[in-house]
């Protein structure tokens, strides 16, 4: 208003530059107000009626106080019967519209009793980091109404630091408490002297405990989450490489272990020098250890880097700092803790990374450890490294793993399975066609013919194919956009259905599209000029594919060789004793590979193929070998794969430029896949009675190898 009045005044004063300036100013202000309003409104619409502010982790040192009177109600005690199915309210999840749990953190407050004594001393650094990780995680929500999981902001990591009664009252006062339903507590030290309870002894009601120190009696299977006790100094022992040379075979480093354990260890030490038993030094200091009975001093936890196996004994508490320290030092933990629940044991298979020995059988320790093969020690070391880096290396990793577990419980069918949690990247992934079966003959195969305009040869081919007993359908992929395919009436009349598919672009990849029209498992991809294969050969090829349904099975074969001069891979089409590729100009493969070719082929490979109109067959061989780690199978003896009529084709194949390009493909694809996946073999498949002096008519396949 004022602006416009002033503006009008200025217009009157007839100073054009001012006039322009104020009009511009007016417009800018107007625009910014509108934008601000729109932005505000837009975020309103998103969040419902109120906006929620991301929790700020600030002023930890003087938080707002909440005074709880002495007669304030206390929350219900820990419910030891809880299962996911009856204590977790599933209806609170799934309000976000995406398949991800939403986690809310209560605002930071300091709860004090009537005398002003707080429930917890200062929040610990670790709990601060936990809250920070929650807020920064992908699961975090500021909106408690869409939250599926609630994290109280009271630091419950160490039971010895909290006042249980007051904390229970504080919990009851939480806005969304509802008997602790869908709440999650982090706890690393539970119980205190002298009974050392294995659960957090505050009234947590139906809440989930992510705790260290459960035993198998107190851990509620499928509900609680077992976490390790975090060692603030574990990172000092971190080691980035796998070190095979380790001075000590076994290191026991816990201070003041049970005399039974100590006696057993000392007994063993009498006969074995590879055993190092450490204890506290005279001047107690966690980061210094002395050899038991001597004064030789070691720096802890770095000393663990020198051990192949590190002992983890049960103490008063089930959870021991040494576990994380040993993992960091890449020392294989030996767990001597009856009834222990290992961290994240519901998803992590500790058998792959640790050795378990029952307390009563500690005397068998060295027998058991010495029996372990070098190969297994190697693989356990790799697994320890993998587990530590992925799940245990920081507070953030612990928190995220905990939430991933909850996420997988709420959305089990999008969750990770055993392999996803436990297999290292270096362990070869399993072939997607892993069921050991011979494919049924009854289904037959679909012939997929990629053609451009060679109608005459196409018809000869279709006619020939129709004589193969196991053919179930012919699919002609018409790759010529300028010309229409010949009318169906002009096609050879055969007893099997023929389908013509017109493509949208002349791309070689079209040959490997998983068309709906292909209903069989097996696809015979065949070029329209490959008319020299006999019905017996094709039928036998199909028989071979049935026995190897996860491989490419075909006729013309090629191989790859390493060229020492150019230091690159070369494509070889000479008569060699080895094969590593089968050309898809005449080959059987499972339809799943077509799907993979279309969906997961590295973009650079697919683009290269479509751009150069070449090497689609090499790409397919790379793809299958990369997934299965198996070579293709060549069928029947070599023949001349060129037709005398098609001069152009011969020209193309003979063209040196063509060969050079294909060598480039092999080299380029190797880079795209990050390795050379092709495998060479020295065999091909023939019919059992091939070339045998045996009446031809008694052979099931006799027209094999004719030129």
């Amino acid at each position: 208003m004022t602006i416009s009045i002033r503006a009008s005044k200025l217009v009157n004063s007839k100073i054009p530059s001012f006039k322009h300036f104020f009009i511009a100013l007016f417009i800018i202000l107007l625009l910014s107000i509108i934008t601000a309003f729109v932005v505000q409104n837009w975020s309103f619409n998103n969040d419902g009626y109120e906006t929620y502010e991301k929790l700020q982790l600030k002023n930890i040192l003087n938080l707002p106080e909440v005074k709880l009177s002495d007669d304030a109600p206390s929350s219900r005690p820990h419910n030891s019967k809880c299962t996911y199915w009856d204590c977790f309210n599933i209806y609170r999840c799934g309000r976000t519209g995406h398949d991800r749990i939403a986690i809310y953190v209560y605002p930071l407050k300091k709860y004090v009793d009537s005398k002003g004594i707080p429930s917890v001393e200062m929040m610990s650094k670790e709990y601060y980091m936990i809250l920070q990780s929650v807020i920064e995680s992908k699961y975090y929500t500021a909106n408690p109404h869409e939250a599926c999981l609630f994290i109280p902001s009271i630091d419950t990591l160490n039971y010895e630091r909290i006042r249980a009664n007051l904390t229970s009252k504080a919990l009851e006062s939480l806005t969304y408490w509802r008997e602790g339903e869908n709440h999650l507590f982090f706890n690393m030290i539970s119980g205190t002297a002298s009974d050392f309870s294995t659960i957090l002894e505050i009234n947590t009601g139906d809440a989930i405990i992510a705790g260290a120190g459960f035993n198998t009696h107190t851990y509620r299977v499928g509900f609680d989450i077992s976490i390790p006790i975090f060692s603030p100094i574990a990172h000092l022992a971190e080691i980035n490489y796998i070190n095979d040379l380790r001075q000590w075979f076994v290191i026991s480093s816990q201070i003041n272990i049970d005399s039974y354990f100590l006696d057993e260890l000392q007994d063993m030490q009498l006969h074995n020098s590879g055993l190092l038993i450490l204890d506290a030094c005279q001047v107690h200091n966690y980061s210094k250890r002395c050899e038991y009975g001597s004064h030789q001093q070691f720096v802890y936890p770095q000393i663990l880097q020198k051990g192949t196996f590190c002992m983890v004994f049960r103490g008063e508490r089930m959870s021991q700092l040494v576990l994380l320290e040993a993992l960091a030092a890449n020392c294989i933990p030996v767990i001597v803790m009856d009834e222990v629940v290992m961290p994240f044991s519901n998803v992590i298979d500790w058998k792959r990374a640790a050795v378990f020995i029952m307390e009563d059988y500690l005397h068998t320790l060295l027998d058991v450890l010495k029996k372990i093969s070098e190969e297994r020690i190697q693989s356990m070391r790799k697994q320890v490294k993998f587990l530590y880096e992925k799940y245990f290396s920081s507070i953030r990793a612990l928190v995220e793993t905990t939430f991933d577990i909850v996420q997988d419980r709420v959305y089990p069918n999008w969750g990770k399975n055993y392999d996803d949690w436990n297999l290292r990247p270096d362990e070869l992934n399993k072939s997607p066609l892993f069921l050991p079966i011979t494919a049924p003959r009854s289904q037959g195969f679909t012939a997929a013919i990629l053609t451009y305009d060679r109608v005459e040869s196409l018809f000869i081919l279709i006619d020939k194919l129709s004589k193969v007993p196991s053919l179930s359908k012919v699919v002609v992929i018409w790759n010529n956009q300028k010309k229409s395919p010949p009318p169906m009436s002009s096609f050879p009349q055969i007893s099997k259905p023929i389908k013509v598919i017109r493509t949208k672009a002349n791309k070689l990849s079209n040959r490997f599209f998983p068309y709906e029209e292909i209903e069989t498992e097996a696809i015979l991809t065949i070029d329209d000029d490959i008319v020299m294969l006999t019905a017996d050969e094709l039928e036998f090829g199909y028989e071979v594919w049935r026995e190897f349904p996860d491989r490419i099975v075909g006729f013309p074969s090629r191989t790859h060789v390493w060229d020492n001069v150019t230091l690159s891979w070369k494509y070889e089409s000479e008569w060699t004793n080895e094969i590593s590729m089968v050309l898809t100009g005449a080959a059987f493969h499972h339809k799943y590979w077509s799907y993979l070719y279309t969906t997961t082929m590295p973009a650079q490979v697919r683009d290269w193929v479509d751009e150069h109109m070449n090497c689609e067959d090499i790409a397919m061989n790379f793809l299958v070998a990369n997934v299965t780690n198996k070579p293709p199978i060549k069928v029947a003896p070599r023949k001349k794969f060129k037709c005398p009529q098609c001069v152009n084709n011969e020209m193309l194949s003979a063209d040196m430029g063509h060969m050079v390009e294909r060598s480039q493909c092999v080299d380029r694809f190797t880079k795209a896949f990050g390795r050379m996946p092709l495998k060479s073999v020295e065999f091909r498949a023939d019919p059992v009675l091939y070339k045998d002096a045996f009446p031809e008519k008694l052979k099931r396949f006799n027209d094999i190898g004719s030129l």
Binding site: M123, N256, I257, T576
Partner: protein, 719 residues
């Protein structure tokens, strides 16, 4: 000029305001990062207690048996030597149910069995505990008293109690076994995660009365079509309980029925008095129910709903698993069978009874690739652990065995992949790379094991002499072992062909019982066999070095199979109603003779330590068929046929002047046919599989100069 400056000023101030409004929070968070340094650690390392356990031995033993753990309720000292199972002698007055009889007979025939209670680690009752539903006909009365009378009961310590049903109408209580199981390990169906004693009890699947004792039917999945095109997406056909425990879920299923791709049909027509109890939906339901056939649904549906019944588990679970119809579980709190070792998330879909109406959405959102995986895994699990009572019982025992001290563990990759833990013996190796189930590039040598039964002379012209020299010329040979199994003592050292020093030659004589040497000795896992590859030979086998080299190269690609030269086949003889054996030249084969074949040394261990004693007896008695048994074993493990290489069919030196060798004796054939049938009976099915192809060198008989060919000798050998 002035105006420009003003514009600039306005822009700058606007930008600043905007920054404060939108991006200012960044400034704030930087402040709090320093605050963390003022906070204390959650634990004071200098005072933290790391030691001094309270040993459980010193703990009071008053813990109830509900709290049993292996460490507290199991006597490991009984299991120090061997893992053996004792079965109490049958009580003549009580005949156990058919299922329990099968279970006991499986155990009795197994390698776990012992009839000496002092050697036993585990005890199994001969009293039938499978059905503890008081209303059932198989219910054994007064079990409590009978059990108390058992001589080794000892409050159930080291006993395993198998149970399928507990409790009865109306609450079907899980602990309703009607007797005190004490410290016995329960192997029980339909248990909930809350009642299972963790690391102690074992959940087993509910199986039908008709469940086979051994062998068992294969899964129904024979092809891996992608994407899987089934007429129905999700199916269920079964009983509905109008009221009572477990009725809620099944009563609500009709909401999901759409007659198109989701078929959910229920009936209340079961039990004697269903008409009295029926509700308003019953008639309508029954009509719809009769429109669909159970088997047809099972075969033609991608997913099968497995809701809880009165108890948590149902027969349907195993039926769906076998059919490859991916089970969709609707049974909150059920501890799935063998869940401590099997990762069920690879084979089933978990639904939540509380979110019944979301089931169609959940199922629809599972990708075709995922379906392909889940479906294959159902078959692996079915065939490895569930298809027969034998497998279920052995799996239970193996889970217990893994808990004993000093056991080599088998991790989840072994349990959840083919061939599974029952066929992966931990005593062989603790590293998966040592087993034949992964292709290792580092396999580069083999050991030749020559079995000498005839006691042939060793002179330069004798077949044995020539065999040794041609095998020794192979690039890949590591050692030659002669298994001398003849009354005559083997020729002295000097008589054997002289070999390069890198190829040691060992002559082993089995002197245990020289009058009756066992032919199975050729497969004895001798410690001298250090290579993965074993070339098994007869003393009169004829092979060229090229053939040996080529076959070894092929075997390296298929280390889990038998790769050899002469092949045989089996066929079903309809007229006789039994299996037949033929050595005729046929278009396919299913057996490769071990007189000349490569295989992995792991199979020696399986052959000697895993096969049922019954099978060994058959071989012993006939002094024949050991090669057929080896083929049975390998096909059983891999579920793939053996591999024949090259043209060679005759591999024996023809005996001069028509002399008799055991191999051209007509009785020999009849005997082998008998073996074939005995083995099939003991295995419970016919494991042999046929192959239509043989493998030749890439340039075999190709019109190209012989100089280019790597394996030239092979060209010269006719059939």
């Amino acid at each position: 000029m002035q105006a420009k400056k003003r514009y600039l000023l306005v822009f700058v101030s606007c930008a600043f305001l905007a920054y404060c409004y939108f991006g200012g929070y960044r400034l704030k968070s930087e402040i709090s990062d320093t605050e963390i340094n003022f906070l204390p650690d959650f634990v004071d390392l200098e005072t933290v207690r790391t030691g001094s356990a309270i040993r459980h031995k010193e703990r009071p033993i008053s813990e109830s048996t509900n709290e049993c753990r292996m460490e507290t309720c199991f006597d490991f000292s009984r299991c120090h030597k061997d893992f053996r199972v004792y079965i109490y002698p049958p009580d003549d007055s009580l005949v156990p149910s058919h299922s329990y009889q099968k279970l006991l007979s499986v155990l009795e025939e197994s390698r776990y069995y012992t009839n000496d209670p002092t050697k036993a680690c585990l005890f199994v009752l001969s009293l039938d505990t499978l059905d503890r539903d008081r209303l059932s006909t198989d219910y054994v009365r007064n079990l409590q008293i009978r059990i108390q009378r058992l001589p080794y009961w000892n409050n159930g310590q080291n006993h395993v109690i198998f149970n399928l049903y507990s409790g009865t109408w109306p609450d079907y209580a899980e602990n309703g076994l009607d007797f005190d199981t004490g410290m016995a390990i329960l192997a029980k169906a339909s248990v909930s995660i809350n009642s299972i004693r963790s690391g102690f009890d074992i959940s087993i699947p509910l199986f039908h009365k008709k469940h086979p004792e051994k062998g068992g039917e294969p899964g129904f999945v024979v092809s891996n079509n992608f994407p899987l095109n089934k007429s129905y997406l999700l199916a269920f056909k079964g009983k509905r309980y109008v009221h009572g425990i477990g009725s809620e879920t099944r009563n609500a299923l009709f909401h999901l029925h759409n007659e198109r791709d989701i078929v959910m049909v229920t009936t209340c027509r079961h039990g004697k008095s269903w008409k009295d109890m029926k509700d308003e939906r019953c008639d309508e339901d029954n009509k719809e129910y009769d429109r669909y056939d159970y088997e047809v649904l099972l075969q033609n549906s991608t997913f099968c709903l497995v809701p809880r019944g009165r108890r948590l588990g149902s027969y349907r679970f195993l039926e769906a698993l076998q059919a490859g119809c991916i089970p969709v579980l609707l049974s909150n709190g059920w501890a799935l069978p063998f869940a401590q070792v099997i990762d069920w998330s690879k084979a089933v879909v978990w639904a939540d009874e509380r979110l019944l109406l979301q089931v169609p959405n959940t199922v629809r959102s599972i990708s075709p690739t995922n379906i392909l995986e889940l479906r294959q895994q159902t078959q692996i699990l079915w065939e490895k652990y569930f298809s027969s009572i034998e497998k279920i019982v052995f799996t239970t025992l193996e889970i217990i065995r893994e808990r004993l001290p000093k056991q080599t563990p088998r991790d989840g990759t072994v349990w959840n992949n083919s061939p599974g833990a029952l066929l992966t013996l931990p005593q062989f190796s603790d590293s998966p790379l040592q087993f034949p189930f992964t292709v290792e590039e580092s396999l580069d040598q083999f050991t030749a094991v020559i079995y000498c039964q005839l006691g042939s002379l060793v002179v330069p012209s004798s077949p044995l002499y020539r065999l040794i020299t041609s095998v020794a010329r192979s690039k890949y040979i590591a050692r030659i072992i002669i298994v001398w199994s003849n009354d005559k003592s083997p020729p002295p050292k000097g008589r054997w062909p002289s070999l390069p020093s890198r190829i040691p030659l060992n002559v082993l004589q089995f002197s245990s019982d020289p009058t009756k040497p066992s032919i199975s000795q050729r497969f004895y896992p001798h410690p001298l066999i250090e290579t993965s590859g074993v070339l098994s030979l007869d003393e009169d086998t004829v092979l060229t070095t090229d053939e040996v080299d080529f076959a070894f190269k092929v075997w390296m690609q298929f280390p889990d199979r038998i790769v050899g030269y002469p092949a045989r086949s089996h066929y079903w003889d309809d007229a006789k109603g039994s299996w037949g054996y033929t050595s005729k030249w046929t278009n396919d084969y299913s057996i490769v003779l071990t007189g000349a074949a490569f295989y992995h040394r792991y199979y020696n261990i399986l052959y000697t330590e895993w096969l049922s004693p019954l099978l060994h007896k058959t071989v012993e008695q006939s002094q024949n068929c050991e090669d057929i048994l080896m083929n049975f074993l390998v096909s059983h493990v891999t579920r793939r046929p053996p591999i024949k290489v090259t043209q060679r069919k005759q591999y024996k030196e023809q005996p001069p002047n028509g002399g008799r060798s055991p191999w051209n004796d007509p009785d020999h054939f009849i005997q082998r046919q008998t073996c074939l049938n005995t083995f099939a009976a003991v295995f419970g099915y016919m494991p042999l599989l046929r192959s239509n192809l043989r493998l030749d060198p890439v340039l075999f008989k190709d019109p190209v100069s012989n100089l280019r060919k790597k394996y030239r000798q092979i060209e010269l050998i006719g059939s």
